[in-house]
Symmetry: C2
Subunit: 578 residues, 2 copies
């Protein structure tokens, strides 16, 4: 992983590839790499769909090695949704394959002269471009079928659906999983639109003939990795809850807490939560012969990403994540897992962020376009997004855009990005993260739910205003560093609770790179990444006024606790205190 | 004009009226009044369509008096389009009638509990509210017919069309003219949406039994006003060009300069400009029996607001203003005045800003939805806005929104507001105003065209980077003050060129209010208003990054002069230097 592939789409004809060494970017990976490239090379005031923006794809520092659960890939750019810096993170095989090909980053730059679409094929010997206008408006699953027929299913595919081609702000970039399904997505911030603006429909990464990345100190690495896996397997969340139920284990927990946003954030509990819970899903899938326990990439020790099948045992979609179940479920008043799984598939197929898309459906329900709970109506509207009808153009640009189109205030967004599945009034730590992360509302940027509800890494009362800022700060720092390593965020449950597992992770990195990093170095890396990101946003025109939740969270009390979001602006402004 | 009418829409049932004295707002009028109320009473970070925003309607300080050409009315709020402070300015009879009723401001506040629509009727004795749900989605012209049947045509009407009801960001507030036509609009910034969010469909102002406002020093006022009128009549622009041709006299002038934005800012000259020029329009209308010379309100000495009739002599619309002819004409590649006048009528009827709406049509042409020059297509799309179809919801939210919906970079907007009819690359002074005015791109905020092209108030080469900042600064200050007086901006041509006319205006105010203001006091008033506005925007999260033109103006050279916008960011940041 000692080179960078630059793809310039701005010349005549096909894009041009250049391979360079790492230069200034040596030692960076994942989010550290994407944020550093965007920060250094993209003018902060450029148009996200214009020639000055760049799309950066980077595996984590440990990705492509034998390090357990480290297959994440980061996608960065100036976001068409937020107008700020963006890192969207995905699982699947793309990161592993790309890392083994030796590329620490693919940087797509420039502006095409025509609207031709291109395929990029990368193997150990070459980078090849093919015009693929015949794939225009093709969805991700049929595209995967075409690619599988051409390249087999051992390669990895990174692609956009029609949403990315139409440059929609809720468009994602799909990454294929172990079974070559385009089911893992760099979902947030409209990264698919930037790939679409560059005229790249699909990237095929073929690591045939490449080897697993080798550690510098094999013994140290092997021992640390073993201890690390043992730590993951021994923790209740990573060793039991997630493998058994997937992330959707959270429905009952969050609903019980009174922080499960229902009917577009009108209530904090959903009467029919039990019908869509992780426990119900696992029971249903076990009965139907689905696969509740399954990993999104090879080498994962957690295996939270199941497969959802219909009553006849046929594949419907990947097992929808908790946030997807919430956004298309309780948020929309929909209580049917089969419908939710079908919408999850449609999102993946069209190439959409399931959080922003589900949020959007609830907003048009609130605006009276369809009724809350209207399953058929919701699927019909989603289909319009894939077709690019005028209604689809509205919805595909996400929650904030749709609220504006229909003239309603109630859009739970920060920096235009939809809030995920946790009401910040009843779970205040996550509210601090939503408000302040440079990414726009994002639970993964500093997952305070861990400590507010799951009591992992401590215990901070979700309803109190005390301790939330410090909690969010520490989690945001740790996450920024973690997102640079390629380790899955879910290892956080184990490393926050178990010091020896944290140490095993650090030692794995040290063994791999021949370093002697400490926990303090990890913290410094996290701070460095956040500082770069905040500096970019500042240059893009962001101020502390952008680090705020929508006012209705401060005005309207949420049942059952009857709480508002009462973390003060001064508290929010104290998060980044270094 | 010694009282304020507050209308609170938030209680049960009909809105409630309270009449108060002026308090802190004594001595303020027009834009000074609206910006001061918004600045003091509206939380800068509120949602423009939420309960904390207020709609402020205020006649100018001289409005309702015998002062010539002083009938302007200001409408202020936090703008749904820009997210910053907004003053939109209109002619018509509304200001005069309201001022004679004694109201220095109407402030509409709160959030309705239901979606009922209300009519407000104000006469010298009472303020009355009537639920008018039967007018839902009624357009402005049929609404005027209904009101005329009920109240006659001596009252004034302030109303919203379907666009305001649908809370669209390009929605305007209509004000009736001398013939009770809803043809004068507070057009910019989506002020109609705020009136819609308050549930107020129409305000009838009835000054029956009220007298013309009396000057404190009648002799001084009368003499000064006489000198002022004589100055207006003696100047080539206000005494000849505008009365004969209306504002559309500018087509040939701006086209000749190479700053007439054509086909969505791709060229600086329109081949068919002669077909849509003011000279052609005046000739056509004289032949048809239209009325090229006609005032928008009683007491106007300029008479630039003509009436446009069809070949059979039937009313089509008011004579479209230059910016409307440009936005629906050259910008869209449309060269037919009859089509442009019909679209002008549709905009007024639906309640839309003709600048943002025309800009939007050119953008969907650029995006390939219809072809440049497609007259029928453009009218069909406009009709969709009035009906609120999904396509209409996109377009009605304006140029920036529409560009986002269709994923194109090329939207000539600042602070989300569409640039008017002058290309900033070829006429750089107006570019400074577009970039820096707190209002979002707005030619009226500091009309550098006067000096760059018309050589009024000096001569600053439009293609040079020299002198533009000072020019824009001085004009922005003068305009802010002028917008507080109620005098029409068009008097600026005469008062910039003729010192005695400027003095006559100041003496008119002094005579009316018994003051002894000097020119310096006028400058101080302008600075005070601008400072309040900029402070609001800062609190709303605006930074210097918001005071920029879209990057394509810096990147793409404009024919025929092959110039980019090369005023530096540092120059732009030096405009407000006090």
């Amino acid at each position: 992983m000692d080179k960078i592939l630059r793809i310039d789409v701005s010349g005549d004809g096909a894009p041009k590839a250049t391979v360079t060494d790492l230069g200034d970017y040596a030692g960076m990976g994942g989010r550290g790499m994407t944020s550093m490239v965007v920060s250094k090379e993209v003018p902060a005031d450029c148009h996200p769909l214009g020639p000055e923006n760049k799309l950066v794809i980077a595996p984590g520092l440990m990705t492509g090695s034998a390090a357990s659960t480290s297959g994440r890939i980061s996608v960065g750019c100036k976001s068409p949704l937020t107008g700020g810096i963006k890192e969207a993170n995905a699982g699947g095989q793309g990161g592993q394959v790309m890392a083994r090909l030796g590329y620490a980053a693919i940087i797509i730059e420039g502006e095409p002269k025509t609207d031709d679409l291109y395929k990029v094929y990368v193997n150990k010997d070459k980078v090849e471009f093919t015009q693929v206008n015949e794939f225009r408006m093709m969805r991700n699953y049929p595209l995967a079928d075409k690619m599988k027929a051409e390249y087999g299913d051992k390669v990895a595919m990174i692609s956009i659906g029609p949403a990315g081609e139409m440059k929609m702000c809720a468009s994602s970039i799909a990454v294929t999983d172990k079974e070559f399904r385009p089911s893992r997505h760099a979902g947030r911030g409209g990264v698919g639109a930037v790939m679409g603006a560059k005229g790249i429909k699909v990237i095929i990464l073929d690591d045939n003939g490449c080897k697993m990345r080798k550690p510098l100190d094999a013994d140290k690495f092997k021992a640390a990795n073993k201890a690390f896996v043992s730590g993951l397997r021994g923790h209740a969340v990573t060793g039991e809850g997630l493998p058994a139920y997937g992330t959707n284990v959270l429905v009952n927990i969050v609903n019980e807490s009174g922080g499960f946003p229902t009917n577009n954030f009108k209530q904090g509990q959903f009467d029919d939560a039990a019908k869509i819970s992780g426990e119900t899903m696992a029971e249903l899938q076990t009965k139907r012969g689905g696969q509740p326990t399954h990993g999104c990439h090879r080498g994962c020790a957690i295996q939270c990403s199941g497969i959802f099948v219909d009553k006849d045992g046929n594949f419907v979609s990947k097992q929808p994540e908790y946030e997807t179940v919430w956004s298309h479920g309780g948020h929309c008043g929909i209580d049917d897992l089969d419908t939710i799984a079908r919408m999850d598939f449609m999102d993946d197929d069209i190439g959409l962020d399931t959080i922003d898309m589900g949020m959007t459906l609830g907003i048009v329900m609130d605006a009276g376009v369809i009724e809350f709970g209207d399953k058929e109506g919701a699927m019909r509207l989603l289909e319009e997004v894939g077709k690019g009808t005028p209604m689809g153009r509205i919805l595909g640009n996400g929650a904030a855009f749709t609220a504006k189109a229909f003239g309603i205030e109630r859009a739970a967004v920060v920096k235009n990005q939809a809030l995920p599945a946790y009401d910040p009034r009843a779970i205040k730590g996550i509210g601090v993260t939503y408000a302040t992360t440079p990414m726009g509302a994002d639970h993964t940027a500093g997952y305070a739910i861990a400590t507010n509800l799951l009591k992992v890494g401590g215990d901070v009362d979700p309803l109190s205003t005390e301790g939330q800022v410090e909690l969010s700060r520490n989690l945001q720092i740790a996450t920024a560093a973690l997102d640079a390593t390629g380790y899955c965020l879910f290892i956080a449950f184990a490393i926050l609770d178990q010091e020896e597992t944290f140490n095993a992770m650090v030692e794995s990195i040290n063994g791999f790179y021949g370093l002697s990093m400490t926990g303090d170095d990890v913290v410094e890396l996290g701070k460095k990444i956040l500082s770069m990101e905040r500096d970019f946003n500042k240059r893009a025109g962001f101020t502390k006024e952008d680090d705020r939740l929508p006012r209705f969270f401060k005005r309207e009390a949420l049942a059952p606790h009857n709480v508002t979001f009462d973390i003060s602006d001064e508290q929010l402004d104290s998060v980044f205190n270094w």
